[in-house]
Structure formats: C-alpha cells, structure tokens
Symmetry: C2
Subunit: 159 residues, 2 copies
Amino acid sequence: MSCNGHRGQMLNIKIICVGKLKEKFYIDAANEYIKRLSGYCKLEVMELPEDYQQSLIKEKVQIESKIPDGAMTVALCIEGREFDSKELSALLQDSAVKGISKICFIIGGSVGLHDDLKRNANIRFSMSKLTFPHNLARVMLLEQLYRALNISGGGKYHK
Amino acid sequence: MSCNGHRGQMLNIKIICVGKLKEKFYIDAANEYIKRLSGYCKLEVMELPEDYQQSLIKEKVQIESKIPDGAMTVALCIEGREFDSKELSALLQDSAVKGISKICFIIGGSVGLHDDLKRNANIRFSMSKLTFPHNLARVMLLEQLYRALNISGGGKYHK
C-alpha cells in the first residue's frame, strides 16, 4: 500500500510551512491526516516561524536551508499548475518510479513565497484559484497527499 | 460591513449539505467561520443525512424542497467554474446589488450531486480541480464566504 521508490524505500515527504497552526481544530485536522499518512510515507512537517517584520528574502534563505538534498521541490502558489487528485497521485508515483525518494512541499505564510523559491521549485502547484489561509491550506495539502497515496496504493478512499 | 441588497437587507445565505460533519475538528472549524459570518450575512447551514442506499434522484428531490423561493442557486461541483476569491466576492456583491437577497449553496455527499441539480443551478462553482471530502469542502466554502464578504465589506482579512 505504500508508494515505493526504485529500491523499495518508502517515499520521504517533507512539508515546510511558514507560520504555526494556532487553532486547535486545524492542529487536530492536520494530525489526523499525518497519522493516516504514516502508513504510506515517511512524513516530516516542519514549521518555520512567520516573522511579519522579516523580508521574504530572509525567509527564502531559511526555507532553502531546510530542503533535503536531492529532493524534488513543490512550491504551493496560486499561479501554479492545477492538478486533479489523480494527477497529483501520478506525480508522486512517477517520482518514486524515477528513483526520486524525497519530495519537499513548501507552503508560504500569509504573504506567500519569495519569487526565487517559486522559480527554483521543480513544480509550482496550485490547489485552487481561491486564496486560502496557510493553516487551512496545510490541512488541504495533507488530505490531498493522503488521497494521492491512497489512490496509488489501490485504496478506496478516493471515489 | 455587511453585504446589503437593494432594500438594505442582509444577504441570506443557505448552505445545503449532504452528509453530517462527524469529526470534532471539522465541526469546530465550521463553527468558527459560521460565527465570523454572523456579522456579514444571515446564514443557515442545513445538513441532510447521506443515505448510501438512496439514489441521487431521491436526494435531489429532498434538496430541491429545501431551496428557498427566489434564491440564486450555486451547486458545488468539480467541473464547475473556478472563481478566485475576489470574483466570488464580486458575485455575492453583484447579487445583492441586483436585489437577489437569497443565495443557496449546495454541497453533495461522497458521490456528488444529481446532474439535474447541477444543470438547474444558476451557477456551478468549483473550488478546485482536486477532489476534497465533503466535510473539508464545507469548511473551505465557509472560509471563502467569510473571505468574500470581508472583501466586499472592506475588511483586511484578504491580502
């Protein structure tokens, strides 16, 4: 049921998020999908503090230092490509087949991501034309990752 | 700060949802946005039970009977039109200006909505190409309605 790479290793997914989840309901929702994802991938969710005084360029440097070596990077941005759930699943599965064992998603804070991060990312991914707050976006991404890996694992979650 | 119609009345928004929220975190998240929306519109969220044995046509009849007379209907479906948050805000504001004081959103259950409901709706609205579960979709819609009415009210929530 797991999404395995060419040597059979489990996919490593890291999500770098700018901004902490404050609302208990978003923390609980995120934790629910993190728990469910544990059967499908090695997942790390890293929160970087959002510093409202700080420039996006400083944030960019911090984020870049946290991207695992050799990871495929996926920057979430509203102007990115919209995938449907099956396409997202295929993207993860294809990466695994190609021997890419690390994928790093990047979710910006309330003012988004520095242009360099978007430009340098392997993929720019838009979940919606609508603007969602970073906390809800994180839950949406986690649910979609669970859905994507469930699809590629042959599960029945996605109908 | 409210979105008023031509006679100055508050916009009436009804959301008809198939399926109950079970997870406490989704109930709490929905309630948070319902509370915030109370300053902007008259909101009713009506849950219809999802009957997995029941055909979509029976569900359709139930839903139709709950649509308020004279309401503009917005069916949520993945193949609908994607609005950005400002366009959604403009849609609500334009409706109010045109004297439409009632808007009814319809969110289907796990198997979606009957084709007639989508065909007969004034607007088919897609929040994303991605498939989201009905419970998360409800939270997303509530957040977007809050965002939309905050935009038209001149608030600072949307950046």
